[in-house]
């Protein structure tokens, strides 16, 4: 595995820690490229003919496919291995973080010279975060195990990189590179004085933006204190000016009409049916007239064939991504309309790795992230 580019907050790995992470990374590449594709012949040659024989028709949607495929032995074995590989990601990063935690906490306590960090100990962590640990990261993004904790952020940095099998790039910022490249192409003349990134976790995306646009004032919010402490220290280590604060994107303390651009990077599917509308409403409130909202998330169900739709939803049922099940069928332009955006200013678009400045070896050019755009 190609390691992440080192920065001052990145947990160092001794021999076996590096080796264990490399194994998980390579194992996941093997699962994705050699084992996962077997689900297609398994379905078309075995599961589908049996279904047609019994019912006299093909499955009408991905839900029907799920009911039969989850009993298929090939699918079950792949699925069980995929789940284990996800657990193994975290197991492979915890040791190094735990070992260095006191030092990492000390480093994160240094005040920033570029940006800032504002925490709110009274902020209530929403239920969609506390109900289950998202992506199976033990302790999730919001739990402090010790004063000044940064463990969740330190684990997230290596863990998401291994999850993506290197696809997030050695700067762990591929999503930021995609939205940045997309924005420059879509809105070449838009001047940005003030930008907000919602649900930033360790700020991988917003920090990339801040590095590209040092004249712009960048703000980033998340509900998780340990990821914000880590993200702030990481941004400082990378020389980027970002103002991190612990806030819920559903209701922030920023003033009306105070941002030129509001972004989020695969935040929405980690929220809830109520929260997502609140987030769109809040985005509208915070935008200056002419300001742009750009929420990037994962593909929706519409247009996907039943088998592909079912396989795409593996993460929902096996990787604690519960709200994604609902988001898959939601009407994003309708959320925009309800928030106040006019029809002619709502643009459902998509962007992929082709917008990245640094191509990574595993970047999948064929995969596109939908981006919901609303202009106030």
């Amino acid at each position: 595995m190609i390691p992440l580019e080192p920065h001052d907050m990145l947990a160092e790995r001794v021999h076996d820690e590096e080796s264990r992470q490399s194994f998980v990374n390579d194992f996941r590449i093997h699962l994705a490229s050699k084992v996962f594709p077997g689900n297609f012949p398994s379905y078309y040659k075995r599961v589908l003919p049996t279904f047609v024989k019994e019912k006299g028709r093909e499955p009408k949607d991905r839900h029907e496919v799920r009911r039969v495929m989850t009993h298929d032995p090939y699918y079950s074995f792949w699925s069980a291995m995929q789940r284990s590989s996800q657990e193994m990601i975290w197991d492979s990063v915890i040791d190094s973080v735990e070992r260095q935690l006191p030092n990492l906490i000390d480093k994160a306590k240094q005040p920033g010279t570029k940006g800032s960090l504002t925490l709110d100990p009274n902020l209530e962590t929403p239920k969609y975060h506390t109900a289950a640990d998202i992506h199976l990261q033990p302790g999730a993004y919001h739990s402090d195990q010790i004063d000044g904790d940064v463990a969740a952020g330190a684990m997230y940095d290596w863990g998401t990189y291994i999850y993506s099998m290197g696809g997030l790039g050695t700067g762990n910022n591929a999503l930021g590179q995609i939205t940045h490249g997309f924005f420059k192409n879509e809105f070449p003349d838009k001047k940005l004085d003030r930008v907000l990134d919602m649900g930033c976790t360790i700020g991988g995306s917003v920090t990339y933006w801040a590095q590209q646009m040092p004249e712009t004032e960048f703000h980033a919010i998340d509900v998780g204190a340990p990821v914000l402490r880590y993200g702030h220290a990481r941004a400082e280590a990378l020389g980027a000016a970002v103002h991190f604060s612990q806030q819920n994107a559903e209701k922030t303390n920023f003033e009306d009409e105070s941002f030129d651009l509001i972004t989020s990077h695969i935040l929405l599917h980690e929220t809830s049916r109520t929260a997502i509308q609140n987030i769109f409403d809040e985005s509208y409130r915070l935008l200056k007239p002419g300001g742009i909202m750009m929420h990037m998330d994962l593909p929706q169900a519409h247009g996907q064939p039943p088998l592909e739709g079912f396989l795409f939803e593996w993460e929902i049922y096996n990787n604690n991504e519960h709200f994604f099940a609902q988001l898959r069928d939601m009407d994003m332009p309708e959320l925009c309309r309800k928030a106040g955006f006019k029809d002619e200013n709502i643009h459902p678009k998509a962007a992929g790795a082709f917008w990245m400045e640094d191509q990574t070896p595993y970047a999948d050019d064929s995969f596109e992230f939908p981006i919901t755009i609303g202009i106030k």
């Binding site: 069980a80 000390d106 109900a131 289950a132 999730a140």
Partner: protein, 115 residues
């Protein structure tokens, strides 16, 4: 700089949330986790051995090629054969246990035991 021992903390190792059951017998789920973990640990051990070999060569103790062409003396061969046999028996003990139980249970007329 704080001493690591003074602030030692154990991070949680298990994610909150219901874990799906993949096989009709939950024992198979556990076995698969064990096998995959063993796969990983064996890979880690192989990497570590590789590092040892490379460092030995770098420091001029011997060449890695010497390993490839190592001629096994008879006594070493004997030791390895015994160790390998014991290792296989240890890993496959659960199979042997089942066979032993069957032997005890039945008339034993179809199976002859060495001991």
């Amino acid at each position: 700089m704080p001493n690591d021992d003074q602030k030692k903390i154990k991070l949680p190792r298990t994610a909150k949330g219901k874990k799906p059951q993949y096989f009709s017998d939950p024992t198979v789920d556990k076995l698969l986790s064990m096998v995959l973990t063993l796969m990983g640990e064996l890979s880690v051990t192989r990497d570590r051995l590789d590092t040892v070999e490379r460092l030995i060569e770098k420091h001029g103790l011997f060449k890695v090629d010497d390993i490839e062409h190592y001629e096994i003396p008879d006594d070493v061969n004997q030791v390895r054969t015994e160790r390998r046999s014991a290792y296989i028996a240890r890993v496959l003990k659960c199979v042997q246990d089942e066979l032993d139980a069957l032997q005890d249970q039945g008339s034993g007329k179809n199976v002859e035991m060495d001991d």
